[in-house]
Amino acid sequence: MLSVQIQHSLDDFTLDIAFDVGNEILTLFGPSGAGKSMAVRCISGLMRPDSGTIRHDSTVWFDRAARINLRPQARHVGLVFQDYALFPHLTVEQNISFGLGGLDSGERRGLVNSLMEEMHIRGLEGRYPDELSGGQQQRVALARALAPSPAVLLLDEPFSAVDVTVRTRLLRLVADVQRRRGRPTVFITHDLEDAFLLSDRLAVIERGKILREGVATEVFAAPGSHAAARILGTRNVFNAVVIDRAGEGATAVLRLRSEGGLELSAPGDYRIGATVSIAVRAALIDIVSAEGGVRSRAGAVTELVPAVLTGVESRGDRYTLRARVSTSLLQGGGVDADAVEVDLSAAAFERRAPRLGEAVRLAIPRDAIHLFPND
């Protein structure tokens, strides 16, 4: 278990974060400049935070109050840098074995060989880093970081410089490595897909603060704040008022109406008259015809909202539709109707063949509707 609780100020930027990582992958996800790399530098000992504590199991790595600050050498972290940082004057084999100072040459060779096997880079022993492709360099960097059998693995945007197909394979490799070795792993990325692919848990970080932390799928579904929703790419966020309420406590179902005329019911615990924010991920919404029945998943309730399709964009393997909520309430009023974005897979798009201007209904599963306090 790695426990981190640190503060560090630099010019007008302040990093102030706290999290625990067990034998799992925690992703620090956020835009560049959010302080992710600084966090990793502090954990690895390459940077000394202003205050706080960093602990691994029962070992204190850093404790400002107790004046403890272990050198990077004593922390046993495996750090993979964004730009690989492979030693340019050493061969692949020399790079990987650099951290194996204490072993005799036979043991070292055996360990290097098995790591190269694991990373699928056999045959590259004698190459220099600038003779390798980006993906190969990344595998060597990973092998080098793993060689001394680190207590914690830190991955600082390791895949930002390799292309998509190579990246996906590397992500799977890292997931495998983590599963086999079971080390606390901190993975840093600003890429939503990478974060989703690799995370056990996800911490959304912006301007030095963790906005939300939890199981990756839950964080995606329920960002909890406007800022986190924006960073996580939730495009459908509306301000709304609770106009009715049925039931009590956690099982209460609220009737909500947004300024732009979107009306739906969702589970939540707010009083009537409260203003809240509604977030729904575009990929969880479906469109159905204006009339007729709708099949829901067993046990799921689907909200149906009348709307008019006003835009279609291709995003390659998926389509983004824009739908304007049609409501009599707004007619003649000065307020614009809410525009809801819907992501359809290419296959779903072909099947439905939606037309611009078509009157449809938005099918929104109730459990996909996430409410959070209006901030």
Binding site: R41, S44, G45, L46, R71, P72, Q73, R75, H76, V77, G78, L79, F81, D83, A85, F87, P88, H89, F98, G99, G101, H120, I121, Y128, D130, E131, L132, S133, G134, G135, Q136, Q138, R139, R144, A145, A147, P148, T165, V166, R169, L170
Partner: protein, 235 residues
């Protein structure tokens, strides 16, 4: 022609360079990577000989290692060792004059090495000494070597301070630079011409070497032996 000044100059400059590297490498490392109180003062003291007139430098050295000097007098009283007017004093003068040039070059070369290489080496658990010799020095070697060459050239041409502390004793402390002065005073043009020619050729070689090292200073150590394979769906 008497070759003694040539041989002495080679010996003095070689020893001065060795000492400068031995003292200068740790100093350059400290200045490149460590912040400590008194850093800028130490930096100024080491750099001072570059701007100080050589005769002033020589005078200070006399105060230090002269027979009544701060170090010279106890050295003579306790060990019977006299430094002034020996070729050892010429080495000391050359080290003081040439050290700052080496420290500057080596420090700049160290600072140019990407910090992430050093960070990676530290997280891999290796000590600072191993990192110095296996990572830092190999990656900074061109700048360090440029510093060695510059330092050697400065030591070879050292005149003012050397004259004050080592004197002009033919066959004992007369270096090339001083022998030229001596030859001109004695109107021995043939001897002056020969010595001037040697030092001029040496200086041209030094400049050419420096240019070569400077031009390729950022390039990697090894020559690429084969081109990288085209990027395929491998890895």
């Amino acid at each position: 022609m008497d070759l003694f000044p040539v041989l002495l100059s080679l010996r003095v400059s070689a020893l001065a360079t060795l000492w400068s590297v031995a003292i200068g490498l740790p100093l350059a490392w400290v200045f490149a990577f460590r912040r400590f109180p008194g850093r800028s003062i130490l930096d100024a003291v080491i750099t001072l000989p570059v701007v100080l007139p050589p005769s002033v430098l020589g005078y200070y050295l006399l105060l230090l290692i002269g027979r009544r000097g701060l170090i010279g007098s106890p050295l003579e009283a306790w060990f019977g060792v006299r430094l002034v007017f020996t070729w050892h004093a010429a080495v000391i003068a050359a080290v003081i004059a040439a050290l700052p040039l080496f420290v500057r070059s080596a420090r700049a070369a160290f600072e140019q090495v990407d910090e992430s290489f050093l960070g990676a080496a530290r997280t891999l658990g290796r000590g600072e000494l191993v990192i110095f010799f296996r990572i830092l020095l190999p990656l900074a070697w061109r700048g360090v070597l440029a510093g060695v060459v510059l330092c050697w050239a400065r030591a070879l041409g050292e005149f003012g301070a050397t004259l004050l502390v080592a004197g002009n004793i033919p066959g004992r402390t007369q270096t090339m630079a001083i022998a030229i002065y001596d030859a001109v005073q004695a109107q021995d043009t043939a001897r002056a011409d020969a010595l001037v020619a040697i030092l001029t050729v040496t200086s041209v070689v030094v400049i050419l070497t420096m240019n070569y090292l400077g031009r390729a200073s950022v390039r990697r150590r090894h020559v690429r032996r084969n081109r990288p394979l085209p990027e395929r769906g491998r890895s």
